[in-house]
């Protein structure tokens, strides 16, 4: 008589973290509220020196918590997958940031919508938790990115990043992915691997909403976007994005090109035009058109996110957007032109930037 194979459970949640005592309790509670079964939640604490592991053990039991020596996020996740035998026991694994707050139906929706026959990975909708000025800016950015950009990407099959706070993988593809490439933005790197190695399609599930913490200070914001853009160009360099004939290459080519065109317009073409023609009102037209369109898009995002409060900081958004652009070009010069940032990194970019989440953080 043949032994029956034990039935795989649908979805495991793995939460890696380093010194997350301020947020881990809330993250686990939020996952439970959102429909994730306690026995399907696993925490891996990467060399935490605080009470991260103790708090997680209180909530989940010690057999669901693993402490590892300093390994970085990718290394910690890899060890947890092996230790908890996730690949054999589950069809899907969700890797979440330790500061995630899941909407009340998040896991119920994921478990209902995830389709292993059509997709190898999936992502939900990320939104910013209330915080400081940067969080207001991010409400606009995330709403625009999820509502418009990611929907278009999903339709075309070219989702370019499965964001850290909401990344779900079919467990059989995990072994084909290299989580330890030393990228500064491992979620982008992993997503590009899915495309490059033709591993399958990525599902976008916008109804599954999760919330993340964004920097509270200007200097943390700069540090974060420097890492993002350096990581982006590491991926561009490593996988030669924009240099092959594929949908994702074409899309990335367009994204880079449109940013370069805009930068050139601001830094070269507009000053040149003004200098040559002396038509100074061209500057006024340029500025007014930009402001009108940017205001309309920001207002649309605020309405869509039900966060009209973000409009109070609109003029600052305009400046932050230019800061974004400047750092994007800086990263291009550092990584592409000067071939920098090749070394591996096993650090945690979130160190020292977490804040406690209060009840009613999510509207």
């Amino acid at each position: 008589m043949r032994a029956t194979k034990p039935r795989r459970r649908k979805l495991a949640l793995v939460i890696p973290g380093h010194n997350e005592e301020q947020v881990i309790r809330n993250t686990i509670a939020s996952a439970l509220r959102a429909g994730q079964n306690k026995r399907d939640i696993f925490v891996v604490s990467d060399a935490s020196t605080d009470r991260t592991a103790a708090i997680a053990s209180e909530k989940l039991g010690t057999d669901h918590v693993l402490e590892v020596p300093r390994s970085g996020k990718a290394g910690a996740v890899r060890t947890a997958l092996e230790h908890f035998d996730i690949i054999k026991r589950y069809t899907w694994v969700h890797i979440a940031d330790a500061d995630s707050v899941f909407s009340k139906t998040y896991f119920r929706i994921l478990k209902k919508e995830l389709d292993p026959k059509k997709y190898v990975a999936a992502s939900g909708y990320v939104q910013s938790l209330p915080g400081g000025l940067i969080s207001l800016f991010r409400v606009y950015e995330y709403t625009w990115a999820n509502t418009i950009v990611r929907r278009i990407q999903a339709k075309l099959g070219i989702i370019t990043v499965i964001p850290g706070p909401t990344s779900v993988f079919r467990t059989d593809v995990i072994e084909k992915l290299d989580f330890a490439t030393g990228s500064l933005t491992e979620d982008f790197d992993i997503t590009i691997q899915l495309h490059r190695y033709n591993l399958g399609k990525i599902q976008f599930i916008p109804a599954a909403k999760t919330y993340t913490q964004d920097p509270r200070t200007y200097s943390d914001f700069i540090t974060q976007i420097r890492r993002w853009y350096r990581g982006f160009f590491q991926g561009v360099r490593r996988y030669g994005l924009g240099t092959s004939f594929s949908k994702v290459d074409a899309y990335m080519g367009v994204v880079i090109l449109q940013t370069v065109v805009y930068g050139l317009e601001l830094a070269v073409l507009l000053p040149l035009y003004l200098g040559v023609t002396q038509h100074y009102n061209a500057l006024s037209v340029f500025f007014l058109s930009e402001i009108i369109i940017y205001f309309a898009i920001t207002l649309g995002s605020a309405i869509k996110a039900n966060r009209l409060d973000i409009m109070v900081a609109f003029p600052i958004f305009y400046i932050l957007r230019l800061v974004n652009l400047f750092i994007f070009f800086q990263a291009f010069v550092e990584v592409i032109l000067f071939r920098g940032y090749k070394e591996h990194s096993t650090g945690w970019s979130t160190a020292g930037r977490r804040y406690e989440i209060t009840a009613g953080s999510i509207k």
Binding site: V126, V255, N281, F286, L288, I293
Partner: protein, 58 residues
């Protein structure tokens, strides 16, 4: 989380601006410049007020 400066809005704005700027300078009126200055000043005042009120609220 996008890893590129938010795509599309800037290009929309820039394209509209460049498009309009190539047509309007011939008929350019001081009104456009005055309007642009008023908007710029308005945004600066708005930003300063935002920071003052934010500080007071803290």
């Amino acid at each position: 989380m996008n890893y590129t400066p938010t795509p599309i809005p800037q290009v929309l704005g820039a394209a509209t601006g460049v498009g309009a700027a190539t047509v309007l300078p011939e008929t350019g009126s001081p009104l456009i410049n005055s309007l642009a200055i008023a908007v710029a000043v308005g945004l600066v005042v708005w930003a300063v007020m935002y920071f003052i009120l934010r500080k007071k609220a803290q």
